[in-house]
């Protein structure tokens, strides 16, 4: 019984990781940059959600929809703005310079949140209607079910979008070779900007489901899930959309199982050891594409 419950715990944790990892992997796969500020965009989204949810006098349906829409809009605008100001000027700079800038953006968002909202965590009420499934001793919360379902739907939509639309094709082309894509008449800049918009939109969804599951947000709430999701994305093969999903779920389950049956103290060490071993055996993660170096 316990085992099944622990498995479900892992699954619900993993689906959150997977959802955040999708945003990471999307941006990495196309723009080839690690957007370290992704976790912090999620944090900002959660704050926006909590403010919008305070809007009184809405019908029951609108009281859910309004905060969700505001949050999505805010995250997308924020993501695109960050991209315009901080990342676009560095389009041709070394990837490391962009990485450091992303870290700077991450610090920036954290300190702005700290200045505006203070250091205490803030309670955010779940926008997901309360329901849960219980089977004997096993509980499955509504938030967990919703997260899992939403993550799967998003994964499928993203995969379809990238593989079967014209814009998706442009994105793949940019990811393959920026210069050649430009020669083919693809606007590299706007394609990358669009990628960021989508990535930030995913961050908004992640932030809605994250705060609905855990109920609180603070200025540094985005950092840890951000790192874990980054690990998940790499585990699954960074750049690969099904990989992010798989990596997230596996990471969640490993973490849960390690805590349940080995040691809570060393759970993080175990998670990272598994990651290292997997990468040693399969250097590009579970579903990552192998890059062949030509001489």
């Amino acid at each position: 019984m316990d085992f099944i419950q622990q498995f479900i715990n892992g699954l619900s944790l993993g689906s959150i990781y997977a959802l955040i990892a999708l945003g990471y992997t999307m941006v990495y796969g196309i723009a080839k940059m690690l957007n370290f500020a992704h976790g912090d965009v999620i944090m900002v989204g959660a704050y926006v959600l909590s403010i919008a949810a305070m809007q009184a006098g809405l019908s029951p349906v609108m009281s859910i929809l309004f905060p969700v829409i505001v949050c999505m809009a805010a995250c997308t605008i924020l993501g695109v703005t960050i991209e315009k100001i901080a990342y676009k000027p560095l389009r041709n700079a070394s990837p490391l310079a962009v990485l450091i800038t992303a870290i700077g953006v991450s610090y920036f968002l954290q300190s702005v949140a700290l200045l505006i909202f203070g250091s205490n965590q803030r309670k955010v009420n779940s926008v997901i209607p309360k329901f849960s499934l219980s089977l004997g001793d096993i509980h499955l919360s509504g938030e967990a079910i919703t997260t899992l379902v939403v993550t799967v739907i998003i994964m499928i939509c993203l995969a379809l979008f990238i593989n079967f639309t014209k814009v998706g094709k442009a994105m793949r082309a940019v990811s393959e070779d920026k210069g050649a894509a430009q020669l083919m008449g693809i606007s590299v800049n706007s394609t990358i900007s669009l990628t960021f918009a989508i990535g930030s939109f995913l961050a908004a969804i992640a932030s809605i489901l994250f705060v609905s599951s855990y109920g609180f947000v603070g200025p540094y709430s985005g950092a840890m899930p951000g790192i874990k999701a980054f690990v998940a994305a790499v585990l699954g093969g960074i750049g690969s959309i099904p990989g992010a999903m798989l990596g997230g779920i596996i990471l969640g389950i490993i973490e849960s199982m390690a805590k349940a049956y080995i040691s809570t103290e060393l759970a993080d060490a175990i998670v990272f050891s598994v990651l290292i071993i997997v990468l040693l055996v399969k250097p590009t993660g579970f579903l990552g594409r192998k890059t062949i170096t030509k001489v």
Binding site: M1, D2, Q5, Q6, N9, G10, S12, L13, S111, L114, G118, S119, N120, Q121, K123, S132, S134, D137, H139, S141, Y214, G215, F216, G218, P219, Y220, S221, A223, M224, P225, E255, S256, K259, A260, T264, E265, A267, D268
Partner: protein, 381 residues
């Protein structure tokens, strides 16, 4: 060749000017030592970073105390001035902050707010011999140096008192969750486990987590299957809020006990205490206490900062009053030796209880037990 040399020379001079530029401006040490009419109190604590809420609360509480004292005419004809520096909960930065404060000529140090930082700073402050009062550094070693005192309880003491209390409630199978990455939590946990076993109880589940974790379902599921009859949660209210909500969603339903870090949990939960109803914790300070002094403090804090004060704020407030009493004891003598000597002679009638200090820097005060009932803390005698 010449270019290389130039570059290196630039590097060198830059390094030097950076080091040197601080030197020219702030040679203010001497000024404060003489008979000035201001007592400079230095404060150190995390104002940014993960632990920011502790430092901010302490700073706010201390500010209120300073304003009160100054409005009432100061101490021995001198006004107090609080200089509070951020240490981000990093030991190196804490020592940096201490040096900055020494440059500004502080007379007394209130800090650091967290244990490890406090210990790192006391290594330096010992050399200067300055009086150091840590409001909330609860590790044993915080008062190891002769110049260091503390306002709060030590970690082991809290663990022992709670073990005693839980046993008295007729509960004998405890499940414990603690923060493995936090000394405070681990210190209470270790003492609790030892004492609880000594009293004939049994710790049936001993689980941990790390700072930054928000998912406790795994630990709670394990506890659910362990046959425990109570849950001891020695960590701060932020995580307590997560645990209480997740415990409810798993249908755990065990009575919960905690430590003084719980203070603030009701605000954290926006006043909705359904999931933590009956939770009992040890605290030196309850904001709903009917005590006149506490009510005045809560009112002033609410007016100034728009929130209820927590235990850190009360500790900060008391630390400033301890300084005031010490200065009164010496009759206005601000020398380090006199102040340190005076600390053991004062009786502080503070927000966190009546206390005296022994030579080891430990406060002698009684613990109160608070229960969360109907969305409010109730003091229990």
């Amino acid at each position: 060749m010449l270019k290389r040399f130039l570059a290196l020379a630039v590097a060198g001079t830059m390094a030097l000017t950076m080091v040197g530029c601080g030197g020219s401006g702030e040679g203010g040490d001497a000024a404060a030592e003489g008979g000035s009419d201001v007592i400079k109190i230095g404060g150190i604590g995390p104002l940014t970073g993960d632990a920011a809420s502790y430092g901010v609360s302490t700073k706010n509480g201390a500010e209120i105390a300073v304003e009160e004292i100054n409005a009432a005419g100061g101490v021995e004809g001198m006004q107090l001035e609080l200089l509070f520096e951020d240490d981000e909960c990093d030991e190196q930065k804490s020592v940096n902050a201490y040096s900055t404060l020494m440059d500004q000529g502080i007379n007394v140090l209130v800090g650091s707010v967290t244990s490890a930082c406090s210990i790192a700073v006391s290594g330096e402050s010992q050399k200067d011999g300055i009086l150091q009062i840590t409001p909330s550094g609860s590790a044993k070693e915080c008062t190891a140096t002769p110049n260091a005192f503390r306002i709060c309880f030590t970690d082991p003491l809290q663990g022992q008192v709670m073990a005693q209390y839980i046993t008295e409630q007729g509960l004998s199978k405890a499940a414990v969750i603690y923060n493995n990455g936090d000394e405070y939590s681990k210190g209470i946990h270790d003492a609790f486990v030892e004492k609880f076993a000594e009293l004939g109880g049994q710790v049936v589940a001993d689980e941990s987590f790390t700072t930054g974790d928000v998912d406790f379902k795994t630990q709670l599921t394990k506890i659910k299957g362990s046959g425990a009859d109570c849950l001891f949660l020695p960590f701060y209210y932020t995580e307590v809020a997560y645990v209480s909500e997740q415990a409810a969603s798993l249908g755990l339903g065990l009575p919960m006990f905690g430590c003084d870090g719980w203070d603030g949990v009701i605000k954290q939960l926006n006043g909705d205490t359904t999931n933590i109803e009956g939770g009992t914790f040890l605290t030196p300070f309850v904001p709903t206490d009917s005590d006149e002094k506490i009510q005045a403090f809560v009112k002033a804090y609410n007016e100034k900062f728009g929130a209820d004060p927590d235990q850190f704020a009360a500790d900060g407030y008391d630390a400033i009053y301890a300084v005031k009493l010490a200065v009164e004891q010496t009759g206005g003598d601000l020398s380090n030796e006199a102040l340190i000597d005076a600390m053991t002679k004062i009786t502080l009638n503070g927000l966190t209880g009546n206390m005296t200090f022994d030579e080891n820097g430990e406060p002698d005060k009684t613990a109160k037990v608070a229960v969360i009932e109907n969305g409010a803390y109730t003091a229990k005698s």
